[in-house]
C-alpha cells in the first residue's frame, strides 16, 4: 500500500517551561527545571510533606488571560488545548485548517474526565451528604469541541491509553493522512494537574520527594507536570507547496502491550525492545541510523532501568547507543500529554540539530549503560525516536526523520 510522506508542519506548546516553541526550547536547552513546590493541590495534609506539593505547574494566569473569546463553561484542559491548537495552526503557516482535517486527541485523567470539574461537583455532593447529582455534560469530548471550534468535518476521535495516549493518537493521525483519508490532522493532548492523578501516584509512593531525576543513581520517583501540546501533521508535499519548512518527517510508529501487570513493566526490557524494533522496521530504518532517543524516562527505579536495558539490547552499550535524554526532570511527567510532548521535543531537536539535556541528572546510574545527554549538544542527527509507556503496559514508539537542513543552534 502506497503511503504518503507525512511531516510535522506546526506545533503549539503550553508547558511548565513556557508557552511557545521558542521559549520552551530555550529553557529546556538551558537545563532549567519547572518542578517546584506548589500550593495548587487541596489535600488538607501536613504541608511539610513535600512529595504532595512538588509538581511542574503551568503559569495559569498568563494563559487564562487570552481566554476571552472562549465559552465560559469550557473546561480548563480544553481551553489549553484550544490555545495550543491556535498556536500550532499559526506556526504551520495556515490561515485556517482544511475542512477535512482530522482531530485526534490523546485522553488522560484530566482531559478525559475534566476531573477537577467533576471533583468540584463531587465535593459539593459530599459536603451536603447527598449522592452524586450531576455529571459534567462536556466529559470525554475534547476532540469534538476542537472540531466544532474550527468547523472541521474530518475524523475525530479520542485515544485513551494513559501516558501513551497522545503518541498513539499521533500514530493514528499519521495513518489517516498516509492512507489519504484526510489532508491534515490536528493531534494533541492537554493533561493538567489534578487531584486524582496526584493522590494516586502519592498513594503508590511513586512521587519523588524532590525533583525527579531520570537515570540518576539516586532517583526516587516521578514529578507530575502538566502541558497542552498540539502538532499539525500534513503531507510533506502540501507543506512544501506553501514554502513552509517542516520540523521533521514522521517515518513510522509502533505500539504494543506488556500484558503482565498494570503498573510496572516487563523488567527484562524485551517488550520495549520489540516496540522500538517494530517502530524502526515500520519506518524502514536501521538501528545504527538512529541519532537520538527521547526516552520516556520517568525517574522511577524500574522504568529507567528497564528502558535503558531495552535501549542497550537494541543498540549496544554506552558508546554504541545513540544519545538519550528524558525531559521529565525539566517539565515533570505530563501524563497523557507526555507522549506527544516527547514527539515535539524530537521535532525541535531534528529541526535545530541540538539534543536537549537530561535535566536533573547528578550522578548517572551505572546500571543504565546508555549515553545520556548531560547538556544541550549540537548534533548531526537524521533519525530520532520518541518513547511513551503507560499503565497497563500500553507502549508506543514514534520514529522521526530530519526532512531538511534545520536551523543552526546559536546557543
Amino acid at each position: 500500500m502506497r503511503r504518503r510522506e507525512i511531516c510535522v508542519s506546526g506545533m503549539g506548546l503550553i508547558t511548565p517551561l513556557g508557552t511557545g516553541c521558542n521559549k520552551f526550547w530555550k529553557n529546556l536547552l538551558a537545563g532549567r527545571s519547572a518542578i517546584r513546590t506548589t500550593d495548587i493541590f487541596k489535600f488538607p495534609v501536613d504541608p511539610d510533606e513535600t512529595p504532595l506539593h512538588m509538581a511542574a505547574p503551568l503559569d495559569f494566569q498568563r494563559i487564562s488571560g487570552a481566554d476571552v473569546t472562549l465559552p465560559e463553561d469550557l473546561y480548563w484542559g480544553d481551553r489549553l488545548l484550544y490555545h495550543a491548537a491556535q498556536q500550532a495552526i499559526e506556526d504551520a503557516g495556515l490561515a485556517s485548517l482544511p475542512t477535512d482535517t482530522a482531530v485526534i486527541i490523546g485522553g488522560g485523567a484530566s482531559s478525559t474526565l475534566n476531573i477537577e470539574e467533576f471533583e468540584a461537583q463531587l465535593a459539593l455532593d459530599i459536603a451536603q451528604d447527598r449522592p452524586l447529582t450531576k455529571v459534567p455534560p462536556g466529559i470525554l469530548s475534547s476532540e469534538k469541541i476542537l472540531a466544532n471550534r474550527f468547523d472541521l468535518y474530518g475524523p475525530k476521535l479520542m485515544v485513551a491509553t494513559a501516558c501513551s495516549s497522545s503518541s498513539l493518537a499521533l500514530g493514528y493521525a499519521y495513518d489517516l493522512i498516509a492512507m489519504g483519508e484526510c489532508s491534515c490532522a490536528l493531534v494533541g493532548c492537554a493533561d493538567t494537574l489534578c487531584q486524582l492523578t496526584h493522590s494516586g501516584f502519592y498513594g503508590l509512593k511513586s512521587i519523588a520527594p524532590d525533583r525527579c531525576k531520570p537515570f540518576d543513581e539516586n532517583r526516587r520517583g516521578i514529578s507530575i507536570g502538566e502541558a497542552a501540546i498540539v502538532l499539525i501533521l500534513e503531507p510533506s508535499e502540501q507543506v512544501r507547496q506553501r514554502r513552509k519548512e517542516a520540523y521533521c518527517r514522521i517515518s513510522g510508529y509502533s505500539a504494543n502491550c506488556d500484558a503482565q501487570r498494570m503498573t510496572s513493566p516487563d523488567e527484562t526490557g524485551e517488550v520495549w525492545l520489540r516496540l522500538m524494533q517494530k517502530g524502526l522496521e515500520n519506518a524502514s530504518i536501521l538501528p545504527q541510523d538512529v541519532g537520538y532517543v527521547c526516552a520516556h524516562g520517568t525517574g522511577t527505579v524500574i522504568n529507567d532501568l528497564t528502558e535503558s536495558k531495552s535501549i542497550q539490547q537494541l543498540f549496544g552499550t554506552n558508546s554504541t547507543t545513540p544519545p538519550v535524554s528524558s525531559i521529565k526532570g525539566a517539565v515533570g511527567h505530563c501524563m497523557a500529554a507526555a507522549g506527544i510532548f516527547n514527539c515535539a521535543v524530537v521535532a525541535l531537536a531534528l529541526k535545530h540539530q541540538v539534543l536537549p539535556p537530561n535535566t536533573g541528572l547528578e550522578e548517572k546510574d551505572k546500571q543504565c549503560s546508555i549515553t545520556i545527554v548531560t547538556e544541550a549538544t549540537k548534533a548531526n542527527c537524521n533519525v530520532a525516536i520518541a518513547n511513551a509507556f503507560a499503565f497497563g503496559g500500553n507502549n508506543t514508539c514514534v520514529v522521526f526523520e530530519r526532512c531538511e537542513k534545520g536551523e543552526v543552534y546559536d546557543g
Binding site: M1, F43, P44, V45, L52, T99, D100, G107, T112, L113, I115, E119, L122, I126, P131, L132, T133, K134, V135, P137, L140, S141, K144, A147, N148, L152, Y153, G154, P155, L157, M158, V159, A160, T161, A162, S165, Y172, D175, E181, Q195, L196, S199, G200, F201, Y202, G203, L204, S254, A255, N256, C257, A259, Q260, M262, R274, A390, F391, G392, G393, N394
Partner: protein, 418 residues
C-alpha cells in the same frame, strides 16, 4: 441542499478490502453466551427488566436492560470476579471470541491487537475513588485502586488475562466508540500492525451514565411512558442497557488460509463527521447520508439492491429514529426491511458493538428479528419489521450507529464468500 462537506470531497473512511469475523463473544441482557444470545434473537426475547443496579435518586426510572445472570468462569474466575464489571464483561467476551476463532494466540501474541471502545469507561470507579480521597482527606482510601481509574484499565486487564502483546488501544467517541473501534481495528489489519485484532465495545449500567443522559433529557419516562420501542409513536427516550460485544477480526484471505470458520465479512465501513453540539446526536447541518451510503456501497462494490436489510441505530428517541427512518427510506426505498436491535438490549452506549454481532448472526442463520413490541407507526416511511422474517439466505446488511457530537458510522456486513 444540506450536505456533508467532507462527503462532497469523498473523505470517508476506509478503502476496499475485506475483513473476516472469525469469532464473537457477548455479555448482554439477552444472553451471556452466543448460543443464548442467538436463541433470544430467534425467539424475540428482549432483556428489559427492573432497575436494580443503582438508585436513580430523585429521577423517575424503574426499568433497565441490566445483566443479572453473568458469572465469569474458567481460569482465575474468582479473582476476576472482584474486578469491575467493565473488565469482567470484556474478558469474558474476549475469551469467547478467541475460543470461537481458534486463533493460535500463544504462538503469535505480538501479532494480535486489542481495541476497545467505551463511552463512559469505568466512571463509577473514578467517582468512588475520588469520593474516598476527598472524604478521607487522603488518610483512608485504596491507592491500589488508582491504576484501575485510568481509561485503558479494561483493555489492559483483558490483555493481561489473555496475554495479548500487540497494540492495545482504548477509544472514546461518545456513543460511537465501538464502531470507531471496529474502524480502527480494520485499519490495523490493513496497515499490517496486526494479523488478528480483538475489537470490543463495553459500557455498564452506572448511576453516572444514567445522570448524564437524564441531564440531556434522553431517558424514557419523563415525557411519556417508560418504554423503549424504537420508531414507535409513543417513544420519548431510551432505557439504558449494558454489556460487551467482542469480535475477532482477521483479513479474510488470512482467515481462509488457516481454515478458520468465517461468520461474516466486513466489506466496508464509512463514517461521516459533522460539527454538532457535544451533547446532541444531530445538528442543523446534518450529514448527507446519501453520499455516505453511496460511499459504503461503492467500497463494497455493491448496488443498493444488494442490501437485504438495515440494522438501524434507532434508540427510541424521537429525533434520532425519525431522522434515520427518513434517511433509509429516501435512499434505499420504502421496501428495505429495517430493524433495530436496541429494542432487545436498550441503549447500551458502546456495548452497541452487540448490534454488529446480532447482524452477523442473522446473516449466518438467515433470519431477521423484528423491532420488539413495535406496533406500527404511520409516521415512519421505512419497512420496519414487526415479525421475525426467515430467508433462505441473507447476503448483505448495513448496521449503523450515531454518536453524540457529530459522528455517524455505517458498516456493511456480508455473508462470507465460499
Amino acid at each position: 441542499m444540506l450536505c456533508l462537506r467532507g462527503a462532497k470531497k469523498g473523505k470517508f473512511m476506509m478503502d476496499d478490502g475485506t475483513v473476516a469475523i472469525t469469532g464473537m463473544g457477548v455479555v448482554s441482557s439477552i444472553g451471556t453466551t452466543i448460543e443464548a444470545f442467538t436463541e433470544s434473537l430467534k425467539r424475540s426475547r428482549g432483556g428489559l427488566t427492573s432497575l436494580n443496579r443503582f438508585d436513580p435518586g430523585p429521577f423517575h426510572a424503574t426499568r433497565s436492560f441490566e445483566i443479572s445472570d453473568f458469572k465469569l468462569e474458567g481460569k482465575n474466575a474468582r479473582a476476576l470476579m472482584r474486578m469491575n464489571k467493565n473488565a469482567q464483561y470484556t474478558i469474558a467476551s474476549a475469551r469467547a471470541a478467541l475460543e470461537q476463532s481458534g486463533y493460535p494466540l500463544q504462538q503469535n501474541p505480538y501479532e494480535v491487537g486489542l481495541v476497545i471502545g467505551s463511552s463512559f469507561l469505568d466512571i463509577a470507579l473514578v467517582t468512588k475513588y475520588m469520593t474516598d480521597v476527598l472524604k478521607s482527606r487522603l488518610t483512608d482510601y485504596r491507592p491500589l485502586e488508582f491504576p484501575n481509574t485510568v481509561p485503558n484499565a479494561t483493555a489492559a486487564h483483558t490483555a493481561i488475562e489473555l496475554k495479548i502483546n500487540g497494540p492495545n488501544v482504548t477509544l472514546i467517541n461518545m456513543q460511537n466508540g465501538a464502531f470507531s473501534a471496529v474502524e480502527y481495528a480494520v485499519r490495523m489489519l490493513r496497515t499490517g500492525q496486526a494479523k488478528m485484532v480483538f475489537v470490543g465495545g463495553v459500557d455498564v449500567l452506572a448511576r453516572e451514565r444514567f445522570l448524564h443522559f437524564q441531564q440531556l433529557g434522553r431517558i424514557a419516562g419523563a415525557k411519556g411512558p417508560e418504554i423503549h420501542i424504537p420508531f414507535s409513536r409513543k417513544r420519548n427516550g431510551f432505557i439504558l442497557g449494558e454489556g460487551c460485544g467482542m469480535l475477532a477480526l482477521e483479513k479474510a484471505e488470512d482467515a481462509r488460509k488457516r481454515g478458520a470458520l468465517i461468520i461474516a465479512e466486513i466489506r466496508s465501513i464509512a463514517s461521516a463527521y459533522f460539527p454538532c453540539p457535544i451533547t446532541e446526536p444531530l445538528a442543523a447541518d446534518l450529514p448527507n447520508t446519501g453520499l455516505l451510503y453511496n460511499r459504503l456501497l461503492r467500497m463494497a462494490n455493491l448496488e443498493k439492491l444488494g442490501i437485504d436489510a438495515f440494522f438501524s441505530c434507532a434508540c427510541s428517541c424521537r429525533d434520532i429514529d425519525a431522522w434515520e427512518d427518513d434517511a433509509i427510506a429516501s435512499y434505499f426505498g420504502e421496501d428495505l426491511p429495517v430493524t433495530a436491535f436496541s429494542s432487545f438490549i436498550g441503549e447500551a452506549s458502546d456495548a452497541s458493538l452487540l448490534h454488529l454481532i446480532a447482524a452477523g448472526i442473522c446473516l449466518q442463520d438467515g433470519f431477521l428479528f423484528p423491532v420488539l413490541e413495535y406496533p406500527g407507526n404511520s409516521e415512519m416511511k421505512s419497512n420496519i419489521l414487526q415479525k421475525t422474517k426467515i430467508f433462505d439466505t441473507i447476503d448483505s446488511v448495513i448496521v449503523s450507529r450515531l454518536g453524540l457530537g457529530g459522528s455517524y458510522s455505517t458498516v456493511l456486513l456480508s455473508r462470507p464468500e465460499i
